[in-house]
């Protein structure tokens, strides 16, 4: 009869216990004690309103705990924290940790031989959502890791490219690549596919007129491999798309090649395209436009506006009206920029001829790895600054043959190398831009850091936390860019920092190599 006895004990505790029932309203409110998604909030600002750790005491920051993720190498995810529980992922694995002690609560593992990436999970309504390398979206019970449902991603030979899902109102949104990129919405309760928006239109569909080559669209493109953002009031999702195929050769795809290299606004209920803005029409440099589109509300030229700002891999910083996609302003954020000679009033690049990839190699700046890339930027509503990792330098870009014949959707057309020329080697900087004008406020050179670089986070404590790919996490003064604290993690950092609090204590979390490292103030719990 013991079962009956224990079942009878199922009474609700009066004690505070981790609360996982994140409602949509709670997600939208973005309680700063949680970091509930890849970017920490729907608007993608990567700004923590916690202010216990500040410019005056950050020098007392120390390691509170470390958790080693078994078998992992370079983790790329951002830890998600909800109700005192941290969720960390690597391909086909999620672990839940006590966010105060770092002790493991449960672990989910999926048996598959497929390799791939994973950049994190989403939490919503007592579930944790994760994509797998064999192209399933899986919902786990947040308390136990039990599988609640799993859904095969739609399309022919679907390939999940690792971007963390985004949970919004009863839906889970995730990017997907099949013959081309797409954005897919799943019912968060059942896993049912609700809609799918395809980045590359088929003949006759709107946008198909921008693919003038014979069957050019069939080679696809427009990958959607990073997590987008969301405006709950407009009920619009903002998602970035990557290059058209083949990446480095545009001969057989004359035209702008919509909707590659865009940020698109999608109705969250239907997946219908509300508007798009294309950063790099007919790209031949593989400047995937998947960088995080940050949402902010500000007075712009005397009028309150709902804005979308983005530092694009092509070297330009953009300010866009997110209600309708209207381009408002653009400015370069790197000095190394040779492919375009400014932007038109509509935001279209004025392309400099002769910068396309060639058989013998052609120098282009910024490099194909980008003036910035997937490591996340941050917006601080208190300093009104946009912080990012910027890469100065150039690449030498090649095409594979004079008469290139793409044979599959994975045909790149060839590739690029870092330019060895003086003044063209890659160098990373943390830069603070005025969020409305894109003008440089300060910069901090990351000596020795030259490839990609991890992302950033700003906090109400007046700090910007920046990792570099030499493994050093640095806290910078958000207003002046001066380093106030640093810590060498001993591993390459390929992910962005985040912040959370439990019982009034603020913590800074970071994934470095295979380790989760959590920092807090000395003397705190």
């Amino acid at each position: 009869m013991r079962a009956s006895k224990w079942i009878g004990l199922c009474v609700c505790s009066l004690l505070a216990a981790p609360c996982f029932a994140q409602s949509f309203a709670e997600l939208a409110k973005a309680d700063p004690s949680n970091w509930f998604s890849y970017s920490g909030s729907f608007g993608g600002q990567r700004f923590s309103a916690l202010r216990q750790i500040d410019t005056g005491n950050v020098d007392r920051l120390g390691v509170k705990w470390i958790f080693h993720v078994g078998r992992a190498q370079e983790l790329e995810g951002v830890p998600v924290v909800a109700g005192g529980v941290m969720y960390v992922s690597q391909p086909n694995e999620v672990v839940a940790l006590d966010a105060r002690s770092g002790r493991m609560i449960w672990r989910y593992q999926r048996s598959t031989r497929n390799g791939g990436h994973n950049r994190g999970v989403a939490v919503y309504d007592q579930k944790v959502f994760v994509g797998t390398t064999d192209a399933y979206l899986v919902a786990l019970d947040a308390r136990t890791g039990n599988v609640i449902w799993e859904t095969r991603m739609p399309g022919n030979s679907p390939r999940y490219q690792g971007g963390a899902p985004l949970a919004v109102n009863h839906k889970v949104i995730a990017g997907l690549y099949s013959t081309s990129g797409s954005v897919v919405a799943y019912d968060s309760d059942t896993g049912k596919v609700l809609w799918q928006w395809n980045a590359i239109p088929h003949p006759g569909e709107p946008g198909s007129e921008t693919w003038k080559g014979v069957d050019a669209w069939k080679f696809g493109g427009g990958p959607t491999w990073l997590t987008g953002t969301y405006d709950p009031d407009l009920n619009l999702l903002y998602w970035g798309t990557g290059q058209a195929n083949p990446d480095f050769i545009g001969d057989r795809r004359p035209g702008d090649n919509l909707y590659s290299e865009c940020v698109v606004a999608l109705d969250a209920d239907t997946g219908k395209l509300k508007w798009y803005f294309q950063f790099t029409p007919h790209d031949v440099h593989d400047w995937d436009s998947v960088e995080i589109p940050i949402l902010l509300d500000a007075s712009y030229e005397g009028h309150p506006r709902k804005l979308l700002v983005e530092a694009n891999r092509n070297g330009y910083y953009y300010v866009i009206d997110r209600t309708n996609g209207k381009f408002l302003h653009g400015a370069p954020f790197v000095h190394s920029l040779t492919w375009a000679d400014g932007l038109t009033p509509e935001g279209r690049p004025i392309v400099v001829p002769g910068k396309e990839p060639t058989l013998t190699g052609n120098v282009v700046c910024p490099p194909t790895q980008g003036a910035t890339n997937w490591p996340s930027p941050s917006y601080d509503p208190e300093t009104h600054a946009f912080y990012l990792i910027a890469t100065e330098g150039c690449s030498i870009n090649y095409r594979g043959s004079e008469n290139f014949q793409p044979t599959s959707v994975s045909s790149n057309g060839t590739g690029y190398i870092e330019s060895p020329n003086e003044g063209q080697r890659w160098q990373n900087y943390v830069r603070a831009l005025d969020a409305l004008s894109g003008k440089l406020i300060w910069e901090y050179k990351q000596i020795g850091s030259n490839h990609y670089g991890p992302g950033l986070m700003s906090t109400a404590g007046g700090l910007v936390f920046a990792g570099d790919n030499q493994g050093v996490l640095t806290a910078l003064d958000a207003r002046a860019g001066k380093p106030l604290w640093h810590f060498s993690t001993g591993e390459k950092i390929t992910a962005s920092p985040m912040a959370y609090s439990v019982d009034g204590q603020e913590y800074i979390g970071l994934i470095s190599g295979p380790n989760v490292i959590v920092f807090g103030l000395a003397g705190s719990q």
Binding site: M1, R2, A3, S13, P18, R103, I105
Partner: protein
């Protein structure tokens, strides 16, 4: 002509390479005989081999995962038990023929999981027992439905042996032994679902199962289906309960037919891993 000769040679080689199946074990798939074989094994063979087929002081494990076994057919295992293995330390066991077949059936059962040889019975009726009279679903989950306080059973037959499932239902304080040959080198949750109740500094009692613990913290899932994560400094007492929350008298609270049908259901839950 030449092709025909090649084919004939390949066929001959294939026939030569294939092991003779020998006599099939008369107790194959017989859950009761497997349980008896286990008892016989643990009383007869563990001077050298380890308990429950694990590696022993003087002889290897018989069901270790990742090991390649030389004797794989019923006949080969039976012969080794009855006659020993010449040139090795493996002696004749002295078991009679019936007992040797039962031990052979048990050893075969070690090298797979329940899904490989599910228990006989009516699994549809067993499912009704699971969610109804057995109350199993109040603590256990299957494919997203059910309770949280016990392990998820969606793939129980893909992971556990048939006798292990039976033990969980019938043997008080049974333990699950590993194959002894692998060690988890990374930190893991406990996985033991140990029953615990804690008393906080302000006098509140919370009961549940332990998920993890160390000298400084306790992580548990309460019977209120909520996670409770404590620093030990926040707790006045941590009481480890003497008994598991899992009832172990299912062979008594269910009729023999109901129990068999529940086993038939449970031993079909999952896939080969």
């Amino acid at each position: 002509m030449r092709n025909a000769l090649v084919l004939a040679l390949i066929f001959a080689a294939a026939c030569f390479a294939q092991k003779p199946a020998g006599t099939k074990n008369p107790f194959a798939g017989d859950e009761k005989a497997v349980a008896e074989g286990r008892e016989l094994y643990n009383h007869t063979c563990t001077d050298c081999h380890g308990y429950d087929g694990t590696p022993g002081e003087m002889a290897p494990g018989l069901g270790a995962s990742g090991r390649r076994f030389l004797r794989t057919t019923d006949q080969e295992i039976f012969d080794a038990i009855r006659n020993g293995i010449p040139g090795t330390a493996m002696p004749r066991t002295g078991l009679d023929e019936t007992s040797a077949w039962k031990v052979a059936a048990y050893i075969r059962s070690l090298r797979g999981t329940a899904i490989d040889a599910p228990a006989p019975g009516n699994p549809a009726h067993g499912e009704q027992i699971f969610w109804g009279k057995g109350q199993c679903g109040q603590c256990h989950m299957i494919r997203g439905q059910g309770g949280l306080i016990g392990p998820d059973l969606t793939n129980v037959a893909g992971r556990r042996k048939l006798y292990s499932i039976r033990d969980a239902l019938t043997r008080p304080e049974h333990t699950v032994t590993t194959d002894g040959g692998s060690h988890e080198i990374h930190l893991t949750p406990l996985g033991t679902y140990r029953a615990v109740h804690v008393v906080t500094r302000d006098g509140k009692t919370i009961a549940g199962v332990l998920l993890n613990e160390d000298n400084f913290s306790v992580q548990m899932l309460g019977t209120d289906n909520r996670l409770h994560l404590f620093s030990r400094a926040e707790l006045r007492q941590v009481n480890y309960d003497a008994h598991s929350l899992m009832p172990t008298d299912y062979d008594k609270r269910l009729t023999p037919e109901e129990f068999q049908d529940l086993m038939a259901f449970l031993t079909r839950l999952g896939t080969h891993e």
